[in-house]
Symmetry: C3
Subunit: 158 residues, 3 copies
């Protein structure tokens, strides 16, 4: 199969100066990075990573812009996981839902703006297949002091 859509997606990523990371953050416990079952794909937590680049609360430790960058990086890691799960993007019918948890200062309420950093990357790279419904949450803390955690589902051709 000629992986037309996959190539196009990777080109759109390259236009942004980005590439799929070869080593997204590994699972932090005894679980799988993804599951494919009955046409629905489930990703484990996608984060901006544990290298300390992004850590703590948006609105206190990080600015809105830094939060958006963290969300974008989490989305980039998610793209790699979907690519790995489906051996490319051809079988991706589309993203389904993105639940975005933004570690937030107690007086910060612009989580949707932060998460647009992830949503815009999905929309740009995957086009129609990148569309997703979304929920945003504003916890004051997340595991391992991470700033962004995305819980993502997608649909694939069986």
């Amino acid at each position: 199969m000629i992986q037309t859509f996959t190539i196009e997606a990777i080109q759109r990523l390259a236009e942004l100066g980005m590439a799929l990371p070869q080593d997204p953050p590994p699972p932090a416990g005894d679980y799988a990075p993804y599951r494919l079952l009955n046409g629905i794909g489930f990703l484990a937590a996608q984060t901006s990573g544990y290298d300390g680049s992004f850590q703590g609360q948006v609105g206190r430790d990080l600015t809105l812009e830094q939060g958006q960058k963290a969300a974008e990086r989490a989305a980039l890691n998610a793209l790699t996981r979907i690519y790995q799960a489906l051996d490319g993007f051809e079988r991706l019918i589309g993203l389904a839902h993105v639940a975005g948890h933004v570690c937030s200062a107690p007086d910060f309420f612009d989580q949707p703006d932060v998460l647009n950093g992830a949503s815009r990357l999905f929309n740009h790279v995957l086009g129609e297949r990148g569309k997703h419904s979304r929920t945003a949450y504003a916890p004051t803390q997340l595991p391992h002091k991470i700033t962004i955690e995305l819980e993502i589902t997608f649909a694939y051709q069986i």
Copy 2:
């Protein structure tokens, strides 16, 4: 197709003095209000809206009863989104899961009671098809100071 079930659902809503809102709160970012994929429907965050009627923490800014009203309004908005997604309720096989996030004072623990305001509306209006599993969460803050955020999945006839 005669939309029998849809008409009955709207009648049950009218008995409660309610109607499907014509303009539920729009998406707060670069995402879709819903997604239909492989028989599973995903709704973006359903809230009690941003008009300030319901804002802040249940148990501090709002009473339990006000929280229930906020949950009911979020459920009402969800019904409109499902109606829009499926062009009525005929193709709705049933609600699947409702994850209910209740913005809560630090000493308030009755989130399930608050969310019954949503669950009872679903059960009443949709009958058997309104049944759902549920999880309840108690964050101290939510985006844009909203009080209730529902994350909802449902199943539909392909």
Copy 3:
């Protein structure tokens, strides 16, 4: 149908000195304990129960080890619910996703370690079918002061 896999799963549970609880915590509101729709199963909140054995924040009210025990108990309750939903485990294709909410002290960040208490039980008892993707959250409070709340999806043969 000879319930081979079910019997094996229950034997693996017995090897750990455990059995499926006959009376897992009932729903805390007007919702169903589970839903089966289009091949995807949805469980209502699985908790460590309301008997007070496990209550409050890990890292303050409970140790890491106690949190792991609470997570294990929630997973055990989940196994009963899946068993009830599918009349055994034969039709279980596999767990899909586990979202684990760990009630946490403000300076506790090892939620993944806590949730391994649940994941290891699933992996041990269900083998390949127990694999799951996972997300971990660190709220400072949960409904009814519970310590662990698991939101679980799975796939089943229609």
